[in-house]
């Protein structure tokens, strides 16, 4: 046996040992965290939008996972890694929304579920939250549910709080730091951001969290992750699967409008020195009578 072969054998033995060990630890650790993360597919933030016939139109801009949701996926994955847990990504939408789920899978989520139903078009946040809450309940024994702070299309920012209320779980919204999660004591401590600074809040599990950008940059999908996601079979649940029917939106969208066109004539200020430019600019600004 040459040196190369010896090394190969050692690797194989280590691999086998690792598998056995991780199986043993899996059996011993009954405190796994079961985590759900709710994501949405939205037009890219660089999309140019126009209202046509009272509806939003984004041309051929790509649809992507809502940027705020990437922070939620990151937070969920970090908790799963810290506590030997697993993360299931959920979205509501048409077949095309699977792309947002595939992004979440590529980042490291272990499973994904698409909730699709013809009646779920132009619904309000209350209906969306009822569907998410029902899906989280159907998954069973979820300890933590993560959402982004808001979707960059409808910008309502209501779903996390409403989902929490429907589940009867603490709503830990706008979380910047997860200081501690103790699966055995069933407790969580987070720092939430508010206008005045950060509040350290503790609560009991299960809980719903929404995550803000301060949490830290979301990871990029890995090459292996992308390959895994492209092959993933994503189950589709209907409202009937969730035991839901007759969901009524309380909010009605009347129309989408373009923003009023502003006629802006740009006046470039020039001068022989910064001081001269500044004096002219200050004159102009003071003449606007806004200060």
């Amino acid at each position: 046996m040459n040196r190369h072969q010896t090394r190969s054998w050692i690797y194989i033995v280590i691999l086998i040992l690792n598998t056995i060990l991780s199986n043993i630890t899996n059996i011993e650790r009954r405190l796994d965290l079961k985590i759900a993360v709710c994501v949405k597919q939205v037009p890219d933030s660089a999309a140019k939008l126009v209202a046509i016939d009272g509806k939003a139109n984004w041309g051929d801009s790509p649809l992507v996972i809502n940027p705020w949701d990437e922070y939620a996926v990151e937070a969920a994955l970090l908790q799963a890694e810290a506590h030997n847990g697993s993360v299931i990504a959920i979205t509501i939408g048409g077949e095309g929304s699977k792309e947002a789920l595939k992004h979440a899978l590529a980042m490291g989520c272990s499973d994904a579920i698409l909730i699709s139903d013809p009646s779920l078009v132009q619904t309000d946040s209350q209906v969306i939250s009822r569907v998410l809450a029902a899906a989280i309940q159907k998954l069973g024994e979820v300890d933590l549910a993560f959402l982004g702070r808001q979707a960059i299309d409808t910008d309502t920012g209501l779903a996390a709080a409403q989902t929490a209320r429907l589940l009867g779980w603490p709503a830990l919204t706008l979380v910047a730091v997860i200081s501690n999660v103790d699966p055995s004591a069933r407790t969580i401590q987070v720092q939430r951001s508010a206008e005045e600074g950060r509040l350290t809040v503790s609560a009991k599990l299960p809980a719903v969290l929404s995550i803000v950008k301060d949490f830290g940059e979301p990871r990029y999908p890995s090459f292996m992750g992308i390959r895994k996601a492209s092959r993933a079979v994503i189950p589709v649940w209907s409202l009937a699967d969730l035991g839901l029917s007759n969901l009524q939106s309380n909010i009605q969208w009347l129309e989408v409008l373009n923003t009023p066109q502003r006629q802006i004539t740009t006046e470039m200020i020039t001068g022989g020195s910064p001081q001269e430019i500044a004096e002219t600019l200050v004159d102009k600004i003071l003449a606007e009578k806004i200060l």
């Binding site: 660089a46 709503a171 350290t200 609560a203 740009t266 001081q275």
Partner: protein, 346 residues
């Protein structure tokens, strides 16, 4: 009890100034829907806020003052708000679009099985119902929405509605309520609070001075020895942001930043203006070294007067600007600060 209620957001016994804009909006609605304006104040040692509310034009204040309501927590606040609304069936409850206001409206809507119109910039009454204008896609489009159920919960975007003028002689009736939940029934605890940076908040500001990637671009600055390239870049940017802060101080302005500046580590995220930051609408917005990506434009395009200072005369930001200076922000900003200081007598 009136049909139109206004929730006042408070922190440590102080009403957030943007809350009073709700009374302005409520008075406008009351003219069309009839009746007066009822104010809700929850907290601990918050009775002085009731006196303020009367001066801003409240006809009635519903006050809950209790240790369990000391720090805002969604559970006791939602339970109390929902109970009061169930008992008196208001038509409309207005909230400020603050972190707490938005969350409370969201949760109360579940308890009351009604809808929320969040972050609204315009309101009108049509056939007895509110029709709200609310920006979507970070203000790239507007939506017209209405609530089919009652009460109609609305959160008002800061600065979109006018705060009433104080009238020291105006009075009303004060009714006190007890909380619904006892401490033992509340599953969350606020352990501590760490103050954020002092200074003017972006959402409330009349004037915002913002910096972008270009703020690190001063070739004549020499960073201290021993810094690597990235550290030197951040150090340079921080020198640039000091100039922006000086100008902001003279103008009593908030300091903003582009996403590029935040992502590069020049300044904390709390300052980010744009689609994934704050959407602002000040009277004066001065963009320094910001090229004007569409995501940034979405966050500031409704500012009344926009001034852009950028080295690159082709930068897209100039298309939005009323006034532009194609030049070096490192010399223009200090000159501007000095000039404003003289002219504003500071």
């Amino acid at each position: 009890m009136s049909k139109i209620w206004v929730y006042i957001d408070q922190f440590k016994g102080q009403a957030l100034p943007t809350s009073w804009e709700g009374i302005g909006a409520a008075k406008m609605l009351a003219e069309q829907l009839g009746g007066g304006v009822t104010i809700l104040i929850f907290g601990k040692n918050v009775e002085p806020i009731a006196a303020e509310a009367f001066q801003y034009g409240a006809d009635e204040v519903l006050l809950a003052d209790d240790a369990s309501l000391d720090d805002y927590r969604s559970e006791p606040y939602t339970a109390l708000l929902a109970k009061l609304a169930r008992e008196s069936n208001p038509e409309v409850i207005l909230f400020p679009t603050t972190t707490r206001g938005r969350e409370l409206a969201a949760m109360a809507a579940i308890d009351l099985n009604t809808g929320v119109l969040p972050d609204v910039t315009g309101l009108e009454v049509k056939d007895g119902s509110l029709v709200a204008i609310r920006p979507i896609y970070a203000g790239k489009l507007l939506s017209k929405v209405t609530c089919l159920t009652r009460p109609q919960l609305v959160t008002l975007r800061g600065r979109a509605f006018t705060k009433p003028i104080l009238d020291a002689s105006h009075t009303g009736t004060l009714t006190k309520f007890s909380p619904v939940l006892s401490e033992a029934d509340i599953p969350t605890k606020v352990e501590s609070y760490a103050a954020g940076e002092a200074g003017v908040s972006l959402s409330d500001a009349n004037v915002i001075v913002s910096g972008g990637r270009g703020v690190s671009n001063n070739p004549s600055l020499t960073p201290p020895a021993g810094m690597d390239e990235k550290q030197a870049e951040i150090w340079k940017a921080q020198q640039g942001f000091k100039l922006i802060e000086d100008l902001a101080l003279v103008l009593h302005a908030a300091v903003g930043a582009s996403r590029a500046a935040v992502d590069a580590g020049y300044i904390p995220y709390a300052h980010q203006v744009g689609q994934t930051g704050k959407v602002v609408s000040p009277d004066l917005y001065i963009a320094c070294g910001i090229s004007g990506a569409i995501q940034h434009q979405a966050g500031m395009r409704t500012s009344k007067v926009i001034v852009a200072i950028n080295r690159d005369p082709e930068a897209p930001i100039f298309k939005l600007a009323r006034y532009g200076v194609a030049g070096d922000l490192y010399t223009i900003i200090p000159a501007l600060t000095e000039s404003f200081r003289k002219r504003l007598g500071k």
